[in-house]
Amino acid sequence: MKQHVTATVNGDPVEFLSDPGMTLLDALRDELGLTGSKEGCGSGDCGACSVVVDGRLVCSCLMLAAEAEGHRIETIEGMAEGSVLHPLQRKFIEHAALQCGFCTPGLLVAAKALLDSNPDPSETEVRYWLAGNLCRCTGYDKVIRAVMDAGAEMRQARVA
Amino acid sequence: MPHVVVAGGDCIRFTGGATSFDVEADTVRRLIGALDERYPGLGEYIDKRMAISIDGEIFQDPGHVPLTPETEIYLIPKIGGG
């Protein structure tokens, strides 16, 4: 039986019908047209589908769409404010922290969750926080630098 | 006369084991033609499977390249990449 689900996605109310086996990732991509979240594995091992639910970073492939009922969901599509990129998005481009770009939305969502909870992470903290986001192109070097640099800029902006 | 050396691939299937020959030809296309005449089937095999190194530079499809008597030619397997 299909469930009627209402939730908030990137601040906007949404509703859709969910097959009981449908994941939140399926709902975002197929029902709501938000294809920025990617499916790399479907088993929670790559992080390409990372979203934030009620402030908590999760893999949207490991959550049933029906579970989203009444919850607040943030995806990569909501990261920029209008056409103004989030500092992380800017720093990823600046540091060439993406090559193919497929893991990038998940990495950005995860990195934002990190900086939201820990504005001044060490390199080791960044590496462990992002361990669930596989990137096969970059070797992570420039990704880590971009996150650290974005953190520094955001701290600076807070002081100023 | 340009000197041809086979370095790899399965050319010896056609040449009866020979891996080095002198061939009278002034372009690569003519050289392959001459080889095919000498060893029937080798021409097509080279066309499909072999790259040709001419004086140190590897050409995948060098039909038109002119040859001189001093030219050193290596037949090597075509190279792709990832």
């Binding site: 193919c100 770009g101 096969r136 070097d141 420039k142 | 004086d55 792709g80 990832g82």
Partner: protein, 759 residues
Amino acid sequence: MTDVLDRPEAGDTLRVVGTRPARPDGVDKVTGRATYGADFTMAGQLVGKILRSPHAHARIVSIDTRKARALPGVKAIVIGTDFPDQASEELAGGEGASNIRDIALNCLARDKVLYQGHAVAAVAATSSSIADAALALIDVKYEVLPHVTDVEAAMAPDAPLLDETRFTTGLETKPDKPSNIASRMQLKRGDLADGFASADVIVEGRYITPAVHQGYIEPHACVASFGADGQCQVWASSQGQFMIRAYCAKILNIEASDIRVTPAEIGGGFGGKTTVYIEPVALALSKQAGAPVKIVMTRDEVFRATGPTSGAVIEVKLGAKSDGTIVAADVVLKYQAGAFPGSPVGAGAMTALACYNIPNFLITGYDVVNNTPKVAAYRAPGAPISAFGVESAVDELAEKLGMDPIALRLKNAVHDGDKAAYGPTFKNIGYVETLEAIANHPHYKAPLGPNQGRGLAVGFWFNVGGESTAAVNIVEDGSAVVISGNPDIGGSRASMAMMAAEVLGLPVEHVRPIVADTASIGFSMLTGGSRTTFATGMAVTQAAQKVVEDLKRRAAEIWDVAVDKVEWVNGSAVCLDAAKAKPDLTLAAIAGQSAKTGGPIGATIALNAQGAGPGFGVHLCDVEVDPETGHVSVVRYTAAQDVGKAIHPSYVEGQVQGGAVQGIGWALNEEYVFDGKGAMENPGFLDYRMPVASDLPMIDAVLVEVANPRHPFGAKGVGEVPIVPPLAAVGNAVSRAIGVRMHDLPLSPPRVRAAIDAG
């Protein structure tokens, strides 16, 4: 940190090339707007799914699809015999030459399944769950056959044969019995026996590397639409839209111009997306269903049914004088090809000794079929495998001689004018410079801590050129569009725009690079072989140069001066005719009056690029081994590479860093694990174990620039070299840390602990 060792070049006045602008597709990719294979949707599309063999080797007795067809919502079912019959034919299109019949049989098996996961049938249905249900209703009867996955077991005379009609080629005498050894190849020089007889020191070893997957994060995906008029559209993520067009046309017997392939953004390929798996199947389903069909692989399917690279056995024997001069090398390479012939053993053999000047050698390579997925290209295909054996042996030789590993390599290094082990003579190579870059790097002299070891290894890749088409069109406001036919996997749009901007004299932001579909630009070989920035870049550069010539002609016409009195400087025509002092004409000014000077401004160049310079890499790795658990941590890593000229240094560094880390994964944990029935036991990221962020240190990329005179800006291919040295660099570091030579990959904790215990 990254250093660029610039070589002084006369008249180095580049404005754009060598800088680090934002990539043109960056915003799309950081906002989630970029459209990858699975992100595209067509109205009325059906869901396509594939039924795969549960057996590693079996004869297909029958396939009954009647029940599945009867299921409401099922719109099409295809099996192997629905494809037209294929002759065994070599077809250029993907990676070098490929046998089109094998590719078709790999997309859908016919008489036999040759590996667990081999596609047997496909359905298209109105929903994913109906497609799943239909797959379950297809009744396939198999006659299970004995299988073989290990390469040496497959070579044995009594091994189960994948193809009873296959006889080994490349032997002096024609064999009288069929074999899984598809071919043998040899490279030789001098006299091996004499060489070893003159050696003071001999090292000998047998090395094993497992099959590993390219590990791109995006599973294969496509949408295909077969029109009632025979016009086909394919939207797919791959390394080459023209490759997809060529293969689909051949497999389905369609005129290639009737297929329009639009390249989606590609979520990584590394060679693994240089062939087709699902596109011809989706087209066949679409034809039958009369509706577009989308197929998206699961990760499980990607591991079980798409290209790993070969698992291999490498035997190396080296002989050297006591001063370190290597006088003889005997290398035997046994590579798994998977279900069909075509392992990269040829390239493995040709690269094996490419860094060394050795008077006497014999390299023997075997291409061996076995019951695992058909191998696909993986970044410098074949080279990391043979390099692991050779570089481990050279390291052992250095230890035995008491020589510094760089000194030993310098002693035997190839230079310009030396004949490569695979034949040709080297020109404009930067190998010695790259070795010196590491020798002079602070890392090389940094002290090591307890339980730490330092490993060095070198690597070589040919780099290729080949056919590319590019167009540069000037827009009426003076900006420009660059059109090419190469999917952008790692930032090539940026390098195309930069090279065009450099020639046109425009700020790079005013050049918009586009990757076009197969109907909108001429043929281009796929993005692979480290060729795009080199070859397609050459086409872009030449097209831009042609545009500049045209702009100069138009300026001359406007000014009424001779063309040779016009110079193009920083995006403007400058009049050199002293008699007619004219204010400079900007590109925008000329573009604005193009109608009066001959119409639209643009040029297309189609070329077959030659002169791709070979690349060399030298990697230095420090590891720390936990002697009790056998766990290996890479604690410092420096990778130097001769890149010719870095067009966009950040993306060149990215290639070096990414390649190094893929190699580290190969060295430490990645492997295909098969159970007793030939089924892959770890077809997911959880147990396949690619490196994660916390496994690694920063990767210091050192770009050495020894210009390639055959490229307008000196570029050499860079993408593949960096995966060649790491296997041995890590292996040598571990061997030195624990004092035991490691021969088998991966260097997982159980293996390292066992080696320590065995002493």
